[in-house]
């Protein structure tokens, strides 16, 4: 039996894998920015008094949440070019990732906004503040900080699930590992190493989120 782990080979492929990790991180962060902005608008739209806005938005959120990210990636990657919308795979992947997780963050916003004390709304209405001032000055500043742990968990989730972007040829960490595997006929080191890299990023991040959670739990 050969050596369990060929460390020279590990050192050789590490730079390529780190390059893949960089793409993963870029896709995650760009997707997260989309998800955070989109989630806010979805949450506000679903609170609309107008059923013609809140109902369709609710249906869209339910639909996106009930279908796999992988199929959504395929859908956008293969269907959009049929209508003349051509984008690099990375852009399609990032948009789909942001859209998918935007429906999840919208639920975080919804819960966060609901958690703001009712008296805050009443006081704002009594003082005749404009809606813009009520949202940006009173409600959101109180609603958003307690959401950080939940949003952090989705950021970590996006980081891990972005591996699915390999299905639409984005050379992120996992595809890099698989390509190295097929080139060298060695799968043990690249795929194990990719898993270790995912863990090395996501585990400390999860610990930070846990500490945040504990802090908000205490301050409540």
């Amino acid at each position: 039996m050969s050596e369990l782990f060929d460390w020279e080979f590990v050192v050789e492929i590490l730079p390529r894998l780190l390059g893949g990790l960089l793409v993963t991180v870029e896709a995650t962060l760009a997707g997260f920015i989309i998800a955070v902005i989109l989630g806010l608008f979805l949450a506000l739209g679903r609170r609309s008094e107008n059923p013609w806005i809140s109902q369709p938005l609710g249906a869209i959120v339910e639909f996106i949440r009930s279908t796999p990210l992988l199929v959504q990636l395929f859908f956008f990657f293969f269907v959009l070019p049929r209508y003349g919308i051509r984008m690099p795979a990375f852009v399609v992947g990032t948009l789909a990732l942001g859209l998918h997780y935007g429906t999840y963050t919208s639920e975080v916003y919804r819960a966060g906004i609901d958690a703001v004390d009712r008296g805050q709304w009443e006081a704002a209405v009594a003082l005749n503040f404009s809606p813009w001032r009520v949202w940006t000055g009173i409600i959101l500043p109180q609603a958003i900080p307690p959401m950080f742990p939940a949003l952090g968990n989705y950021l970590i989730g996006m980081f891990k699930e972005s591996a699915q972007l390999l299905a639409i040829t984005v050379t992120e960490l996992m595809l890099t590992a698989r390509v190295i595997g097929t080139e060298t006929f060695r799968f043990l080191e690249p795929i194990t190493l990719a898993g270790v890299l995912y863990f090395l990023v996501s585990y400390p991040a999860a610990l930070i989120v846990q500490r945040l959670e504990a802090r908000y739990a205490r301050s409540r």
Partner: protein, 252 residues
């Protein structure tokens, strides 16, 4: 409920514009589409040929996940440090990366030296799904056990129950009620994650749709139909979870 007042209404036009724009874009896209020669439903049987595999993956993965979640969740709640460490490492490792990474590892690495464990693609898929979802399920189990009132445990000790009897008669029945909704949500995540098995050559519904894309084309119909199928499979589960949550709210 927030106070509904006139100012909310005055901003409605913003949402109207967004809504109209979205409908407009959707209509534009569908107008640009090549009119399909036949109804999209003729593609349905070909996609549904993969339904059996999707169901096998879901059922097998869920069964494995349930067992693993109970074992690891209880293991993380016992006083024994060794058991707690082992189950803790399992949970953190499998939550540290995604199902896809673990599926690839099991499918590509396990058959090689030094493991030499030959698994069929279906076994690899079920193993990856079960172990991954099981790790999340273990946290649900642990949380439910921790949430049980201390007095219940003290009463069991006072009644001289053995730890096993206390688990079976006191802790598990109460924890089960608490675990049902999160388990339902995990089942939905599991069902969606079965689509990843198409990437390790398993011919589930996603795989069938991908091969239709290559043979028949008609891409918007194929993937549109696939999305609807997943929605029809997953949404009843979502409704079920909400129903259970409502029952619980009434009960308490």
């Amino acid at each position: 409920m927030q106070p509904q007042s006139t100012w909310v209404k005055s901003r409605n036009y913003v949402f109207w514009i967004i809504g109209v724009l979205m409908v407009g874009v959707a209509m534009g896209v569908s107008l640009l589409a090549n009119p399909p020669e036949t109804a999209p439903f003729d593609l349905l049987p070909a996609i549904l040929r993969g339904l059996g595999v999707t169901m096998q993956l879901t059922a097998g993965g869920a069964a494995l996940a349930l067992v693993v979640a109970l074992v690891a969740g209880i293991g993380r709640s016992v006083p024994n440090v060794i058991v707690r460490t082992i189950t803790g490492v399992y949970v953190e490792v499998f939550r540290g990366s995604s199902v896809l990474v673990q599926m690839f590892w099991i499918f590509f690495v396990l058959p090689l030296e030094p493991f030499n464990i030959e698994l069929s693609a279906l076994q690899a898929g079920i193993l990856a799904l079960g172990l991954n979802v099981g790790a999340y399920g273990a946290e649900v189990v642990r949380g439910a056990i921790q949430a049980i009132d201390k007095g219940q445990i003290e009463a069991s000790v006072a009644l001289n129950m053995s730890p096993a009897l206390m688990m079976r008669r006191v802790i598990i029945p109460q924890a089960t009620v608490r675990m049902l909704p999160p388990f339902g949500n995990l089942l939905i995540e599991l069902l969606k994650a079965t689509s990843l098995a198409s990437l390790i050559t398993l011919s589930d519904i996603t795989f069938q749709a991908s091969s239709l894309r290559q043979t028949v084309g008609r891409i918007p119909e194929v993937f549109g139909l696939l999305l609807v199928i997943y929605f029809l499979l997953a949404y009843p589960l979502t409704l079920g979870v909400r129903w259970i949550e409502r029952q619980r709210k009434w009960a308490s």
